[in-house]
Amino acid sequence: MVQKSDFRRVDKYIWELPKSFRDDMRVPARLFGDAELFDAAFRDRTVEQLINTATLPGLVKYAMAMPDFHQGYGFPIGGVAAMRLDTGVISPGGVGYDINCGVRLLGTYLEQEEIAPYLRDLTAALYRACPSGVGGKGRVRVSGRELDALVTQGAKWALKRGLAQPGDLVHTEEGGCLPGADPSKVSARAKERGRPQVGSLGAGNHFIEIDVVDEIYDPQAAEVFGLWKGQVAVQIHCGSRGFGHQVCSDYVKRLQPVVEKYGIQLPDRELVCAPVDSPEGRDYYGAMACAVNYAFVNRQVLVMGVREAFEQVLAGKVKDFGVFQVYGVTHNIAKFEEHEVGGRRMKLCVHRKGATRAFPPGHPGVPEDYRDVGQPVLVPGSMGTASYVLVGAHKAMELTFGSTCHGAGRVMSRRKARKRVRGDELRRELEEQGIIIRAGSMKGLAEEAPAAYKDVSRVVEVVHGVGMARKVARLRPLAVIKG
């Protein structure tokens, strides 16, 4: 059983477990966090899952967990692992079922006071315009042929269909389209599930939130991102719906016997993988890229739902009800990226599971108009608490393959949250704080109670302190729609 004393404190916020700790570890494991967050890692199976991740073939440097880490399945949530392309593997379990779950941040030209009289109507309009809940059908229906084009072209498909503005694509990770998507590697069932759900929020921890920017930490970066104190903003958090879940499920099952074929030993079957450079690995990548693009389109269509709701409620009542995209990030993904390893540039397969890319100033992956300051990193807090806008910084390239945290991270099980919190009481409490809540299920709401999460500010302080990303702005919720 792993103990805290098995770790060495490398830096104020970095804790390292040597690879000698367990025979099957191929690289050391690193946890990012302050002393309190580090302690929390031992209250569930985060550390064990991180050690398991460190056994995967072809890992470079470390298996890492960002400071919002918690127990997941296979990889811990907050997990970052980069593999060599020649000897390394790609793991569907290391990406997760909700492929390209991610966040969009939309800016407006409105002050909080301007929308205050219409906030309830706006929330109701958003709830109608952005379908949510279990099995919720999306805003757009597509044929089989259209779906193949959608998952190949991503947000470019949405632009052609009039479901995006050009600026939306520029301000999305990968421009809203991951290359290499191959619809022939996606099952008929995944396509069947995906067709009716384009432009739907789903349930669980997915949400749409109307926020106000209540603090600016970095005025220069904030200005570049179009953010200012008192401004109304919107966040959307969702993923690839049944399409992505099915792609992952299909490949986690399909690769079970493949592991044996390539002589890979795994401590947990959820870590199932295939060599990056193998027919099975390439097939998974082609299918995963389709799901990544599906999620880009899904959020894009919801962005249009937000625009529609703002126009419906605010047209003629405010000067400018326009909504622009600040940025869109992805959380659950495997990508080919170039990084410096031991003084040499290397192309790697970077897995981020519940982690966000955080490219620094000057990186070619950052949109041109943001390149002088760096890539926006969006860190939503738990319901009813603050969210943060950060900007990627150089230490992320040095320490974490250009990655950082993706949220607050849970600390309490859903079961405990349900026992401690009643959904209807929580809604009343939040409404007393002036936050409007719309939710599909009161049980679901209770499970997402703020008390079930870490303090997002603490997580962000670690990220800022390490220098992976710097604080730019803080958002405070005005209205929350939960699926």
Partner: protein, 143 residues
């Protein structure tokens, strides 16, 4: 464990421990345990009684690489069929189950409120263990 399954601690997702005197009972109890995460099965049964025309009955046949993969495939099949038919399955006749093959008839119905969505059935620490009293396993659902 009292009854057919019990929910166990998991920080982010839902985990249940399931047991059965034989594989057929283990699979049926796993499916029931999953249904109980989605909704109140009593409500589905009541709906059957009130509105028999809306009841759904389907037969399922599956093949898989080994018993664990079969269990995942079985639970995923129920989630998929539930999504397609707009219902939750609460009653399971597992007619035949070997580590590589399953045949079953399942019954379910529409529900008023879903408590939550299950995205997928994971292989996380999944191992079907033979105990003195039969079989036991833990299943983690991604929610």
């Amino acid at each position: 464990m009292n009854g057919r399954f019990e929910e166990i601690e998991h920080t982010a997702d839902i985990a249940i421990r399931v047991c059965g005197r034989d594989l057929a009972e283990l699979f049926a109890n796993g499916a029931y345990g999953m249904a109980c995460q989605l909704t109140d099965p009593g409500e589905v049964n009541q709906a059957h009684f009130d509105e028999p025309s809306r009841a759904v009955e389907l037969s399922i046949e599956l093949e898989a690489y080994d018993a664990e993969t079969l269990l995942v495939a079985w639970l995923e099949e129920l989630l998929y069929l539930g999504e397609r038919e707009g219902c939750v399955f609460t009653d399971f006749d597992v007619l035949e189950v070997t580590p590589a093959r399953l045949r079953a008839i399942v019954r379910g119905g529409p529900v008023r409120e879903y408590w939550r969505h299950i995205k997928a059935v994971t292989f996380s620490d999944l191992e079907i263990v033979h105990t003195g009293a039969g079989y036991e396993t833990t299943v983690v659902f991604d929610v």
